[in-house]
């Protein structure tokens, strides 16, 4: 025991311990720092194994010395509390400090110092670092896939237009705020669909797109004169009715003729790709899987046994199989189930498959929210004389959806992370394009740069989404 007491500081020798401990700790960190940044080995004279372990031993003894309870020095107490509570923690802290110090120089040099940025051919990439020239040269392909270079403004324009239309909610005055849900649920997806499927793919169908935009704008204008009681049903039906009216009954022949004469160049969906395809697919699946999932969540909670069993079967089936087999099914099996002359584009098949798959997960998340609501909410709504749909739309769903924001955000994140799987049906979004670029004989050997680039992009998207869902959750949090 006396030995341990000897090593324990007391008031008289506190500063001796403090200085000695700090010095040893400082020396150990300095040794690793010099070793990793300037490849100097201070302890090179020692035999190999000892030289390797020496910083750890020195640092450990140093931390042991400065572990003084209530020393009265603020910084020291903080240090002890956070990284130096006991021997085990001290060793772990030291190891983590050393790993960080050791890994900074190679990462820095690979990313920046030894990397090559300039030029536009493989010849400039002679250093040991990353070859960002490769990314620069292939940037268009990674962003737009095989989409023709001259037409890429269409993708940019569509995305900018959709972003602007999507941000309408921020500028709406209080008077229009109540229609926002309607706008986002019906009009916005409709316009987005037209933009992406007709504007980006172009060709004679371009005129479909113009009908759609005209229909949407007309219906919004007429919408102001409709009594608010009927507005919901109005917006549910009129945009589509106007679109079909314009397309098939008014000016049909004339516009087909025009469309043949002029319009945008047609780009088949097989040529779409890159990051823009990731966005397109995630966007549509996100829009479609939500209502489908909601319907099945309600179906699973329904009082009708047959509807309940069908919903359970649907949900459990999609949740039990991997997405890759679902995509396989959409690619090889689904065409067998359709009439021979009926062809569905493979991008559309993909979007349907992913939407149905994710809808099952959304359904389970929403069911969790529905179950978490106390029965009193249902009973209160019923006692006010509300029917099933009114009760759910105005009382139950708003509260349940609020509760499950984190779960839904997780499902959407999973959806975004699942989009690369569409390589199964031969569509190449950014990861698929990377694999294609990797096998290009002129650019062999840069797989690492490509994957790091894609990883950074996905990480930023996913991290931003999860942070946004967190702020949403905080915003809609209500105490019960």
């Amino acid at each position: 025991m006396s030995k341990i007491n000897f090593l324990k500081p007391d008031k008289s020798n506190l500063y001796t311990f403090l200085y000695l401990g700090s010095f040893l700790f400082f020396v150990s960190v300095l040794d690793v720092l010099l070793n990793s940044f300037f490849s100097l080995n201070l302890t090179g004279f020692l035999p190999g194994f000892l030289s390797f372990l020496l910083p750890l031993i020195l640092g450990f003894i140093g931390l042991f010395f400065i572990r003084i309870e209530l020393s009265g020095i603020k910084q020291l107490d903080l240090l002890n509390k956070h990284i130096n509570t006991n021997n085990f923690n001290a060793v772990l802290s030291l190891l983590i400090i050393f790993i960080i110090l050791k890994s900074i120089p190679p990462i820095l040099s690979w990313f920046f110092i030894d990397a090559s940025f300039a030029g536009d051919s493989k010849d400039v990439c002679t250093g040991t670092g990353a070859c960002w020239t490769y990314i620069k040269v292939w940037m268009r392909r990674f962003m737009y896939g095989m989409y023709p270079n001259g037409e890429q403004w269409r993708i940019n324009l569509s995305f900018i237009a959709l972003a602007l239309l999507g941000s309408v909610g921020f500028f709406a005055t209080d008077k229009f705020k109540k229609y926002l849900t309607l706008y986002y649920v019906i009009i916005y997806p409709f316009i987005a669909f037209l933009f992406i499927f007709f504007f980006i793919s172009g060709g004679p169908v371009f005129f479909d797109f113009s009908y759609g935009i005209i229909a949407a704008i007309l219906s919004i204008i007429i919408g102001f004169f409709i009594p608010s009681k009927l507005k919901f049903y109005y917006f549910l039906i009129i945009p589509f009715a106007l679109y079909i009216l314009l397309k098939y009954f008014l000016f049909y022949e004339e516009l087909i003729e025009l469309g043949k004469l002029d319009g945008l160049n047609w780009v088949e969906t097989g040529a779409w790709g890159g990051l823009s395809l990731t966005f397109i697919i995630s966007f549509f699946c996100l829009i479609f899987c939500f209502p489908i999932g909601m319907a099945f969540a309600l179906g699973r909670r329904s009082g009708f046994p047959l509807i309940r069993y069908i919903s359970i079967g649907f949900i459990e089936f999609w949740r039990g199989v991997p997405l890759i087999t679902v995509l396989f099914m959409s690619a090889v099996m689904f065409p067998m189930f359709l009439p021979a002359d009926f062809f569905i584009d493979k991008l559309v098949r993909c979007i349907i498959a992913i939407s149905l798959f994710e809808a099952a997960y959304v359904a389970e998340v929403i069911r969790g929210g529905l179950q978490a609501l106390p029965r009193g909410q249902y009973e209160a709504a019923k006692s006010l004389g509300m029917g099933y749909w009114r009760m759910h739309i105005f009382v139950i769903l708003p509260q349940a959806l609020k509760l499950v924001i984190p779960g839904i955000a997780n499902t959407f994140l999973a959806l975004v992370k699942d989009t690369p799987l569409i390589f199964v049906v031969g569509l190449l979004e950014i990861v698929g394009m990377l694999n294609l670029a990797k096998t290009n004989p002129e650019w062999l050997g840069f797989a690492m740069e490509g994957y790091v680039f894609a990883a950074i992009i996905f990480w930023i998207i996913c991290y931003a989404m999860s942070k946004y869902s967190y702020t949403l959750e905080q915003k809609y949090k209500t105490d019960r």
Binding site: K81, H82, I83, T85, N89, L92, S93, I96, I97, F304, P305, L306, I307, I310, F317, R319, G320, V321, P322, L323, I324, T325, F328, M329, V332, M333, M336, F337, L338, P339, A340, L413, V416, K417, D418, T419, P420, L421, F423, V424, V431, L434, N435, K438, A447, M448, Y451, V452, A454, A455, F458, W459, C462, Y463, S466
Partner: protein, 383 residues
């Protein structure tokens, strides 16, 4: 019975819609198959497959049947899932506990790990490990031995193989030890409930599981030797290791990325579970004089496990399903062997895709049934 149109109407409509959709699909499928001259049936399963698989746990070559190819793929899927589940659980529990550490550095390091690996698509991680990281490994002839017996090369990991003599006796001894431990555990529990005395179950268990197999070596005539992989020259520049067990790089990349990815989710489950146990529980346990170890073992863990197990089961299911991404890097799993090669050769799209989906469904359902059983077993028995 009191039938009301209000109740029957919606149900009838849904059922009719479902039946119509299915009927439409089946009708089209029949017409299409007639047009293309394909017949529906599972007879092809017994035909000769005539393709080879790189890596299989059971004996297999082109002369075996399609059913055998299916088994090869299924076993490979199960192999990578089991390896992934074990590694992910170990890593996930460590990281989950590290997330709760009072040590600032450990805490942030674990948080960084979770945020980093969780937000990158799994497929990208698999590609990264397979095409970028593992390609940087040395060639077989340049590889240095790890611990003198195993080699990590660009062609995979080569480890020594065990060669057993009388291995069945060794196996019986382990089974006997496990049975004995279960008996002792139940007895100790009963004894504690009736008489209130504790038996050192853990020590006895460790002793049994060590001593019985040891006895089988000493008395039972079990012999164990190792077959160490040896470098062999195939051509002037082509080398390979022979003997021992070789794990292909596809398996390593897949198991590594699956476990690194899933561990982040398991870590979050573990953290949520331990945080979910009320502070009062720990304080109450400490106040009746339990040591910190006892608090963790007898009070915190049993309650935390109840919160941890259901979401962790989900993660195990996800891992099993995600193992189908193997097809992207040509690891011969169920999807690649059966829904890929076999489908291309036979053209039996409907049969093969349904068998594959059905297999995954049964795997998922069996894992979730087992975990439900376990969860029920440890759930609070309310009286």
């Amino acid at each position: 019975m009191n039938f009301k149109l209000k109740d029957i109407g919606p149900q009838l409509m849904t059922v009719i819609a479902v039946v119509l959709v299915f009927g439409f699909f089946t009708y089209n499928a029949q017409v299409n198959m007639e047009n293309r001259g394909i017949d529906f049936g599972f007879g092809f399963l017994s035909q000769e497959s005539s393709f080879d698989v790189q890596f299989s746990l059971i004996e297999y070559d082109g002369s075996h049947s399609y059913f055998r190819a299916y088994l090869v793929g299924l076993l490979n899927t199960i192999l990578v899932s089991v390896i992934g589940i074990i590694l992910a659980t170990i890593l996930g529990v460590i990281v989950g506990i590290a997330r709760l550490s009072p040590n600032y550095l450990i805490n942030k390091f674990a948080a960084f790990y979770v945020e980093f690996f969780r937000n990158i698509p799994l497929l990208l991680q698999i590609f990264f490990w397979y095409f970028a990281a593992l390609r940087a490994l040395p060639l077989p002839q340049d590889a240095e031995a790890m611990f003198g017996i195993s080699y990590l090369t660009i062609k995979g990991l080569f480890v020594p193989a065990f060669i057993w003599q009388n291995s069945n006796i060794f196996f019986y001894s382990i089974v006997a030890a496990i049975i004995a431990i279960i008996v002792i555990r139940t007895r100790a529990k009963k004894k504690q409930e009736t008489q209130g005395t504790q038996t050192p179950v853990l020590l006895i268990s460790i002793g049994l599981i060590l001593i019985l197999p040891l006895l089988s070596f000493l008395i039972g005539g079990v012999r164990l030797s190792f077959e160490i992989p040896v470098l062999k020259q195939l051509a002037t520049t082509s080398f390979i290791y022979e003997g021992g067990v070789s794990l292909p790089p596809e398996l390593i990349a897949l198991a590594l990325s699956l476990s690194l990815y899933t561990a982040t989710f398991i870590a979050e489950c573990v953290r949520a579970g331990i945080q979910g146990v009320g502070k009062g529980q720990k304080e109450a346990a400490a106040s009746i004089g339990l040591t910190p170890n006892q608090v963790l073992k007898l009070v915190v863990m049993p309650q935390a496990l109840r919160i941890i197990i259901p979401p962790t089961t989900n993660q195990y299911l996800n891992l099993t399903k995600n193992s189908s991404l193997a097809a992207a890097i040509a690891y011969p799993d169920l999807v690649l062997v059966f829904a890929g090669t076999a489908l291309m050769q036979t053209g039996k799209a409907i049969e093969i895709v349904s068998i594959t989906m059905f297999t995954y469904l049964s795997l998922s359902i069996s894992i979730s049934l087992f975990m439900n059983w376990y969860n029920n077993k440890i759930a609070i028995q309310e009286k």
